[in-house]
């Protein structure tokens, strides 16, 4: 099939950008979306033009590296799917596809479709862990975890840190990302000791990075490729309120 692509091109080092149109004949419907962009890039290189920069790595939907907005939706139209797992069989001959980077103040564009998401790392660094040094651990089975509770914790831990939640949110809020980590650890016995401190610090870092507030639009949940639930945001709000009222050190 034949496709028209409108792709955001922006020079390196935070220059200005604009949409550029490309035509791509002969797209095989079994290709993945990124393989389609590979073909475009091969075509550009053969014309001695600079290829479209986009980030990608595992191409299995798990590393969280790929990050574009396709026709207005982070990771494209399919539910629970990263861009790398989106296949061209969901498009039709003659379609025009608009491709942009994730847009958020806290995710500055580096080049074309590549953005800087290191704010997420700093949120985790602010407290998204259990403080246990190597070698300090007790026998694994001495910490029983109720099966369904472990499952809920896993559901939150499944976040791949791609940033689609931020890109989807009209406020560019990072609440879904942050709350997924808060929930993952708050739901486990291992996370209890630092529970209050963690949520306070992570929320403070999130605000410092310039992410917006949550206004319950729930676009984050709708676009999350791992279908992380907004109930995590509710849990984080609860955790935060409880910690803010009872944490003596703050």
């Amino acid at each position: 099939m034949k496709l028209n692509l409108k792709i955001w091109r922006q020079g390196g080092n935070y220059k200005n950008g604009q949409f550029v149109q490309y035509e791509l004949p002969n797209v095989n419907p079994h290709m993945s979306f990124l393989e389609m962009l590979d073909v475009l890039n091969e075509q550009l290189v053969s014309k001695r033009e600079e290829p479209v920069a986009f980030e990608h790595d595992c191409r299995e939907g798990i590393c969280g590296t790929c990050s574009m907005v396709i026709d207005g939706r982070p990771h494209g139209p399919m539910k629970g799917t990263t861009t790398c797992q989106l296949h061209m069989r969901h498009y039709n001959d003659g379609d025009t596809i608009v491709i942009e980077p994730f847009r958020a103040k806290a995710f500055p564009v580096i080049k074309d479709l590549v953005v800087d998401r290191s704010a997420f790392d700093r949120i985790i660094q602010s407290g998204g862990y259990v403080s246990v040094n190597t070698g300090q651990a007790q026998d694994a089975n001495s910490i029983p975890v109720e099966k369904d509770q472990a499952g809920r914790s896993f559901d939150a831990a499944a976040c791949i840190g791609c940033g689609a939640c931020v890109a989807a949110c009209p406020n560019a809020s990072a609440m879904l990302f942050t709350s997924a980590k808060v929930s993952h650890l708050a739901l486990l016995p291992q996370g209890q000791v630092e529970r209050k401190r963690r949520v306070l610090k992570m929320v403070a870092q999130m605000d410092k990075e310039g992410f917006g507030q949550c206004s319950n639009v729930k676009a984050c949940e709708a676009e999350c490729p791992k279908e992380i639930s907004v109930s995590n945001i509710a849990r984080m709000n609860r955790e935060y309120a409880s910690a803010a009222f009872t944490n003596e050190s703050n």
């Binding site: 079994h30 073909v39 590393c63 797992q85 069989r89 259990v130 246990v132 089975n141 109720e146």
Partner: protein, 645 residues
């Protein structure tokens, strides 16, 4: 046994009974006191399981650690993609598992080509890994009683694999990433994301730092340290198509090799039996379906070649050949990966392969769904089935999956001694980037185990042995002439690539190299094929340096330039892999030479002549590399023909 170990290789495996070696080593290894650790700098390249766990642990110990990753975040490393699980000799199932059994299974699974002392240590620390990860909050699968669940995996007869749905690697990596993040917040570890190591710097025979390229600005940076740890993963992408993530590459290991680190067993490649088959020329990578699927899925092809195009559900039981169950009744569908892969190739070569290309076999869950119910199978493999459906557009609950082997892991890597140090003093290699623990074939769920064992529990001890001699060295200057020279060489290399301005894309060379490697140094190898491959690779490499086109500037984010540097190194590695495969006149594990097989088509080892590690020494561009042998003298395991019948 008359193989003589090269004087250049000292394994430093401790003497004494196998079960005492590690505990004795740990209690006698020299220590570095806390006030001295503060004065010692360690560089870690790579932030996957092996790198992140080492960085976190060394940071906790008090060393000044710098960790480098070419990703935007340490959490992206390819360890994240491991699906199935992680082995540990916990014996929580009460099914007869033990440290010795895990050790024995790993040695046997590796076709008797791994170093005994290293493997035993790996089995010993395996239980600690699970403890550590659980304490970090890794959400492993649980039973109703709240205790940890296990599953079985290929090549073993016990259930020792811990798992977190089909995303074990992701959860373990996030655990290590969080431990690393904690050290970053405490100031013990400095994180350099979007930095790629392009050379190691050796001063007076000791590794003293690295040259790294800032991938956003293109600047070359010098970083000095008292020791450098490469945790840079495997080189499966030399085959172009593999299950490795797109950015996985050999550059860090290869640059170290060119600076004097010997490369061990480069030809040992693991071809994973259960991957989604290739569908077209545009294909950029292959997707693995976890080996755990073989617990419940049955591999088959039609008995008659005439049936291969039929709808599989219309082929009656009597006309199906469950070839693994037929050939290996004791292990059935759970034979090790190399055996399962070759068996699939064999039935496809017989013309009984299915799918549009004829290069696929069925992996059928109909019986398991009948036995355990849709819900139970969905709980075990739901996300894998979904992934399969997304890629192929077919529903594996209704149609058997189609699978075919694909390159997945490289057992070979930088040669290291018992302390995980390469032949360059002060330069270490951990995880998949070293050669040490899996012999000629890795068992499923052992890669995660090895990466974390090296980083959490081995390197933090062994690196002290070297660093205890560095406490008086003082800070190392990046103004040394060796840094000047290394930086200049990297710069020249980049300039040279940019100046070619040829007519072919980097990708096109990578694809051509991959085809040579897969056809001639893949699942089955022959003397004639390997000789051809070497010539073809040499010609391709020459052409690359004459006619490649690298667009864009080197002073900004430029993925094409990054790829060009990596492919250039693959073009050198590929030749060495073929040389290694050519010299090893036997078949073992993932290395199958057609000339050396039993009448039933099984790998035929030659222990008298080849029971050694092949460690190759770089001798300069265009020169043949020197072969050094480390004899594998087994003290404990009785070497026999591997049988899974």
């Amino acid at each position: 046994m008359s193989i003589k170990t090269s004087p250049a290789l000292n394994s430093k495996a401790p003497s004494g009974p196998i079960s005492d070696k590690w505990s004795h080593y740990k209690s006698t290894v020299p220590l570095v006191s806390p006030n001295n650790k503060r004065r010692i700098d360690v560089i870690i390249v790579g932030s996957g399981l092996a790198g992140a766990s080492a960085a976190a642990s060394l940071g906790e110990l008090g060393y000044n650690v710098k960790v480098f990753t070419f990703h935007d975040s340490p959490r992206r490393a390819h360890s994240i993609a491991a699906q199935g699980g992680i082995n540990a000799a916990k014996n929580y199932r009460n099914d007869g598992d033990s440290v010795y059994r895990l050790f024995y299974d790993t040695i046997k699974g590796g076709d008797y080509r791994a170093r005994e002392a290293n493997v035993h240590r790996l089995a010993e620390v395996s239980g600690n890994i699970i403890d550590q990860c659980v304490a970090q909050g890794v959400p492993f699968a649980r039973e109703y009683g709240g205790l940890l669940d296990n599953r079985s995996f290929g090549g073993t007869q016990v259930s020792r694999t811990f798992y977190a749905r089909g995303q074990t690697g992701q959860q373990l990596l996030i655990g290590a990433y969080q431990a690393l993040s904690r050290q970053v917040s405490l100031g013990a570890v400095k994180l350099y994301n979007r930095h790629e190591m392009l050379d190691v710097v050796v001063v007076d025979g000791q590794c003293r730092g690295i040259i790294a390229r800032n991938l956003l600005t293109g600047e070359l940076e010098r970083h000095a340290a008292h020791a450098v740890v490469l945790a840079t993963g495997g080189y499966g992408n030399v085959f172009y198509l593999s299950t490795n993530a797109m950015m996985c590459n050999v550059t860090a290991a290869w640059r170290a090799h060119r600076r004097g680190a010997f490369f061990g067993n480069p030809c040992y490649t693991q071809i994973h039996p259960t991957c989604i088959p290739v569908s077209g020329d545009y294909q950029s990578k292959l997707t693995l379906m976890s080996e755990s699927l073989r617990n419940d899925g049955r591999c088959w092809v039609p008995k008659n070649a005439a049936d291969v195009k039929k709808n599989p559900n219309d082929i009656p039981e009597a006309d199906r050949d469950y070839y693994l169950e037929r050939r290996y009744p004791a292990f059935g569908n759970l034979v090790p990966r190399d055996i399962a892969s070759r068996a699939a190739k064999m039935v496809c070569d017989e013309g009984r392969g299915v799918g549009s290309t004829g290069l696929a076999v069925y992996l059928d869950f109909a019986d398991a769904i009948k036995r355990d119910g849709h819900a139970a199978i969905s709980a075990r493999y739901g996300n894998l089935f979904e992934m399969y459906e997304k890629i192929t557009g077919e529903d594996p609950y209704k149609m058997p999956m189609r699978i075919y082997p694909a390159v997945h892991y490289t057992m070979g890597g930088l040669w290291v001694d018992y302390e995980l140090m390469t032949t360059v003093p002060g330069l270490y290699a951990t995880g998949e980037s070293n050669f040490s623990d899996h012999g000629a074939n890795r068992l499923g769920a052992s890669a995660l185990m090895q990466g974390l064992a090296d980083g959490y529990f081995v390197l933090p001890y062994t690196i002290g042995s070297y660093l205890s001699n560095e406490i008086r060295t003082g800070a190392i200057s990046t103004n040394l002439p060796e840094f000047d020279k290394a930086e200049k060489e990297v710069r020249d290399r980049i300039e040279r690539l940019k100046a070619i301005k040829g007519k072919n894309s980097v990708e096109s060379y990578h694809r051509r190299l991959g085809k040579i490697m897969w056809d001639k140094c893949g699942m089955a190898r022959t003397e004639a094929g390997l000789k051809e491959a070497i010539q073809e690779i040499q010609a391709l490499r020459a052409d690359f340096w004459k006619d490649v086109f690298v667009p864009g500037s080197d002073a900004e984010y430029n993925p094409e330039l990054e790829k060009a540097l990596r492919v250039a190194d693959f073009l050198e590695l590929g030749e060495l892999m073929c040389e290694d495969a050519l010299h090893r006149n036997e078949s073992c594990g993932g290395h199958f030479r057609e000339e050396y097989q039993t009448p039933e088509g099984e790998a035929l080892r030659d222990d008298d002549n080849f029971m050694y590690v092949a460690a190759w020494e770089w001798k300069g561009e265009g020169q043949k590399q020197d072969l050094h042998k480390e004899s594998l003298d087994y003290e404990v395991v009785k070497v026999s023909q591997r049988s899974y019948k």
